[in-house]
Structure formats: structure tokens, C-alpha cells
Amino acid sequence: MSSTALIRIALGAYFVIFFSYLLGPLVVMSLTAFNSSAFPSVSPWACFTYEWFEVLFNDKSIRQGIYYSVIIGLGTVVLSVSMGLAASIVLTQIWPRLRSTYYTMIIAPILIPGVVLGISTLVFWDRVGDFLGVSEGSLLDLLFHNGIFLTILGQSSFIASYAMLVFVARLQRFDPGLTEAALDLGATHTQAFRKIMLPFMRPAIASAAVLAFLASFENYNTTTFTIVDYKTLTTVLAQKVRLGINPSISSLAFIIIALTIFVALAFEANRRNQARKNAVKEGKASTPKKGFLPPFLRGNPAAIVFVALAFVAIGMVGTAQQYSPESCKIQYQEAKQIEIQRRIQELQQKRKIRDQSGARNGPDIFVTPPPKKVQPEGGSGAFGNVFDPGNLNSDKNN
């Protein structure tokens, strides 16, 4: 009995540790976005402020970075999803003996370090330019040294593997008889693909596209080599973080985290709705349960997200107009000044005391370790304190 209780307690503690390791840093980072202190921190809490969001929105390099990240993301989605789909279809049809070799080849890019992929892409297209003998400044030469082109290729080389895994999972449930039936009824192969395979794969294509876009958006290792003279959001952030951090990055993180939570909850709500609808269809569950949301929102996660975002935006703008952190900041500055004054005084006090004892001990060259207790009598130590630094002086004084 007590042993099961012990296991429960251990399990609970482990859960707390795991989730605080996973989520704690994100919570702390989000909080720092609202602290007015110039170094991102929470523990000496200065003032609640929105100013870092303003700094963020006025940051041109971040806007530029987002723009290029989106372009590269879209290119990567198109290329990697189509390559992944083709590779997964080929995998279902390939000669069985080649199958495992082929699978190893298309799964390998996931395992190759991103740094290596970036370098090899950069080197290879530079070589292709040399090989084709393109002249400096010609169209092809510009293309082969263009950061966007290289980044899309470099990222697609491994993101296509992720997409392929999504498609393989879906293809396992595909009935090839459907395609055969279409062919028998006189459809061309292209028609059969467009009318049968694509509709069947649509959910997988959607999730692979989302996955590919996210993977491209947050990629750093490959991009930092292939991007050449452009900047994506991730490389801009990396540069900022390395050069010196300030809370405007936290405010960006807060926005991303908030969006992520909304999207994740919307997906989850959507999944539950779907499951309930299926259950109703099969007659297992009779009436839809009463949710905490009004009916027009139920079953429409996008609306939930929209309403929630609108509330947050209204709340932020409203409080930003009502509340100004300036007075708080002045107060905080004053408090800080007083604190500094107090510390200076403390230090002066200490120095005074030390100077007084130092006057008896002679020149104050033994600052560390702190001055030992002067023993004017001497003789309590084994060697009568002959090694005491103040010994010579005190002898003289005596």
C-alpha cells in the first residue's frame, strides 16, 4: 500500500520536473517581455511595460527576416512536399530487393547534420557554376550564388524526408484497387492520379505542408551557411542573441508562443469535434455534449482563435492606453538610486572601519584575505604569531 503511494509521489515529482524543464524556460522568457529592465530578467522585477513590443515592431531587420523566411518557407513547402510525395509513391512500387537501400537513402538526410547539408549545398552549386562555365555576373551565376535559391534547395533536401514519412503513413491505407478500377474505366494515368490519389492524400499533403513550413521557418543550421547575404528571421535572431540580448526578442517569443498555443488548441478542438461527429454518425453518442462555448463557436476552432486573439489585442491596446509605465519607471529609478546610495554608504562605512584597523596594521596591502584579528599580546599561536602580517607593526607600536 505504501509502496504504491511512494511510486505515485515519485511519478508526480518526475512529471513536475519534466514539464518544468520543458515549459518553464518558455514561461520565464514570456514574462521577461513585460519587464522594463533592459536585460531580460524576471527576478528584480522593475515595471510592467509593453515597450519591448514597440521596439520589436519598429525593428526593420526582423520584419525583413520574416519576409524572407516566408518566401523561403513557401518555396521549401512546394519543393519538399512534391519530392516527398513522389518518393513515397516510388517506395510502394519499388523492386523489393532495392527497397531497403532506397529507404536508407531517402531517410538519411534526416540524420545528416544540418551543418553538413548546408555546406555541401553551397559547395555543390558553386561547383555547378564552374562546371557549366557560367561567367561572373550572368543570370545562372547569380542564381547559383543566390541565398534564397540555395536555402530552398538545402532545406528541401532533408525536409522532403519528413514529408515522405507523413505520406508513407497515409499510403499504407491506400487501396491500389481504386486506381486500377479508374484505369480499367478508361482514365489516363494522369487523371487517375489527379482524381483518386490526390484527394486521398489531401489530409497528408496538408499536414506535410504545415510541417515543412514550420521546419523551414525555424531551421538555423543549414540556413546559416546557404543564406549567403540574405537574412531569415532565424539568422537575424541568432545574430541578435549572440551580439547582446534585450527583451524585444522575448516579446517576439511571447507572440510566437501565444500563436502556437492557440493553433495547437484549435487543432485539438477540431480533432475532438471530428471524433464526436463520427461517434454521432455511428450512433454511439446521441447528443453533442454541452460545451462551455456558445454554439456558433463550437466546431469552429478558427473562430475561437480569432475571438481569443481579438480579446488579447483589445486588452493590450486598452491597457496600453490607460496604463503608462513611466511613473513606475521613475519610481523604480529612484528606488534604485536609493539602493545604490545605501550600498555606497555601506561600502564607505566598511572602508572606514578597515582604514581604522589598517592604521594600526600598517599599509593595507593584505586586502584579501580580510584583515585578521590583531592580537596585541601575541603568543597564542604555535609560533607566537611570527607569521602574522601585522606582527612587525604591532611590535613596533607596542
Binding site: 538526410p109 547534420p113 549545398t121 561547383r127 532565424t234 535572431l237 540580448i245 495547437a264
Partner: protein, 309 residues
């Protein structure tokens, strides 16, 4: 001849247009994005770093000097070893292994719990909570840890408040922040493969073993772990490869005096502009990590086909 048969069958199954489209896409990916770039990097790593005018000239011959640089440094007599770079290399590999093992132990209990408690709302919520950090940018996650581990960061403030330490501990210089960050960055790649395999384990097997009187430890050793082996191997492979090849976490969380091997590669490329040298270092990293992964997989009798499931 046989190849021709395969191809003709392939085109018969898919039609000429679709067949060549599929073949073209897969071929482009495999040849132009994977195989040829790797080969050209390998070729590059055996060449001298020459100014553009001398490229293709008589001096442009193959050489081992880029690899000798890693082992002996710039010393031409080859008496002393390049201890700095070699130490960085060894440290990278060992630390990546340690991070992998740490992640296995941290994730296994949770994966078991999630995999065996089927479909309750609470478990779904936990899974959603787990996915959220994975969608946050790698740089931002490293940044979050930096806020916590900084000199006046939350952790130091907390430790000093509790009087556990009087001076702030320099987590960054002592690489504690780096290891925590590496473990943090790829922990979900360990958790989800494990969770997927354990979820497919039939609960009755565990109950049968329990009825027969097997101890808690024995159930895990004889039933759960053998079943979860492909998932553990897949997660461990990914975590090891990604941490050994990580660049963001060492750049942001690493101490100023300690380097990660990828940072050396980065320096050769972007600071010294010696691509050939950088390519040689990258090849060493790639080859050694692949050899390690294959050796470990062989030792634990896991197939390549299990990866990514």
C-alpha cells in the same frame, strides 16, 4: 537488363507522364540534393585553398593537408598533435553521447506512462503541452535557457535566495547551460518515437507477466524495453546526430572558451573563408557520427528501417 525491366514496369504502372514526373522528382532529390553535393564536398575537402586565378591550374591537385590540419595543426614537421581541435572533437562526441543517454532516461518513464494510459483527455492535453515547445524556434529556446542560466538569471537568484550559494555560479562558462540546452533542444525527438512504439504494445502482455508474478523491474526489462527498442534506437540516433551537429545551442549557450566541433566548421567557412578546410572538418564530423551510430545499432541489433517509424 533487369533494371530495364523494372523501369518499363514502373512506366507501365504509372503511365509515361506520371512515371517520368515521379522519377524526375525523386531523381532530382537523390542526385542533385543528396548524393552529388556530398560527393562534391568530399572532393573539395581534398583540395588546396587557392585564389580563383589558380583554380584548375597546375597547383590544383589533391592533397591530404586539410585532414592533417585537424590532426597535427599547422605544424609541418608533424611532431605535435593539434590538441585544441582534437579535444573539441572528442568533447563534442562524448557530450553528445551523454546528452543522448540523459534523454533516454528522462523520457522513458513519461513515454511509458503516455503510451500505456490510452486516450483519456488528460493524456491528450499532455501531448499538446509537449508539442508546443517543439514549435518554438530553436534560437528562441536557447535564448530562454540563457535568461535562466545567466549570471543574474533566475536560477542564480533562486539559489542565492535559498542561501545555497553566495556567489552567482557561472553556468555558461562551466558548460552546464550548454548541456541543459542540448538536452532541451531535442528531447521531443526522443520522446515521440518511444511513445509511438510503447503505445503499440499490447497491455495484456504486461498484465500476464504481472499475474505470473514478475517484478516491476523484470516486466520492463523483459517485455517493455525489448518491444520499445526500435523506438529508443530511432530516438537515440536522432538525438545523437542532431546534438553532435548542433550549432545554435553552442553558439548561444556555450562558454567563450569552449567550442563545439560545428563551431570550428563555421569558423573555417565564415571567418577564415577556407571552404576546403571547413569541408574536411565537416566530412570528419559526418563520417565519425555515422560510424558511431552504425556501430551502436549493430551492437543492439537494430535495423536502419526502424528509424523514422
Amino acid at each position: 537488363m533487369k533494371k530495364k525491366m523494372i523501369f518499363s514496369e514502373f512506366f507501365k504502372n504509372n503511365g509515361v507522364v506520371m512515371g517520368s514526373l515521379l522519377m524526375g522528382l525523386v531523381g532530382f532529390w537523390l542526385v542533385f540534393l543528396i548524393v552529388l553535393p556530398q560527393l562534391s564536398m568530399l572532393d573539395y575537402s581534398f583540395r588546396f585553398n587557392l585564389p580563383p586565378a589558380e583554380q584548375g591550374g597546375p597547383k590544383d591537385v589533391y592533397t591530404l593537408s586539410n585532414y592533417q590540419q585537424l590532426i597535427y595543426g599547422s605544424d609541418t614537421t608533424r611532431q605535435t598533435y593539434n590538441t585544441v581541435d582534437l579535444m573539441v572533437f572528442v568533447r563534442t562526441i562524448i557530450a553528445a553521447m551523454a546528452v543522448t543517454i540523459f534523454n533516454i532516461f528522462l523520457c522513458y518513464p513519461l513515454a511509458y506512462f503516455l503510451g500505456q494510459s490510452k486516450g483519456s483527455g488528460f493524456v491528450r492535453l499532455l501531448v499538446v503541452l509537449l508539442i508546443i515547445p517543439y514549435w518554438i524556434n530553436e534560437i528562441l529556446r536557447a535564448f530562454a535557457l540563457r535568461i535562466i542560466f545567466g549570471d543574474s538569471g533566475l536560477l542564480n537568484e533562486a539559489l542565492m535566495l535559498l542561501h545555497l550559494t553566495r556567489e552567482p555560479i557561472d553556468f555558461i562558462r562551466q558548460d552546464i547551460a550548454l548541456y541543459a540546452g542540448l538536452g532541451y533542444a531535442y528531447i521531443l525527438l526522443m520522446l515521440f518515437p518511444m511513445y509511438n512504439v510503447i503505445e503499440s504494445l499490447d497491455r495484456n502482455q504486461i498484465e500476464a507477466a504481472r499475474d505470473m508474478g514478475a517484478s516491476w523491474l523484470r516486466i520492463h526489462r523483459r517485455i517493455v524495453i525489448p518491444h520499445a527498442k526500435p523506438g529508443i534506437a530511432s530516438g537515440a540516433t536522432m538525438v545523437f546526430m542532431l546534438s553532435a551537429g548542433a550549432l545554435a545551442a553552442p553558439q548561444i549557450l556555450g562558454g567563450p572558451s569552449s567550442l563545439w566541433f560545428t563551431q570550428l566548421v563555421y569558423q573555417w567557412f565564415n571567418d577564415s573563408l577556407n571552404w576546403q578546410q571547413g569541408a574536411a572538418y565537416a566530412i570528419v564530423l559526418l563520417a565519425s557520427t555515422i560510424i558511431i551510430v552504425l556501430t551502436v545499432m549493430k551492437a543492439f541489433k537494430v535495423n536502419m528501417g526502424d528509424i523514422g517509424k
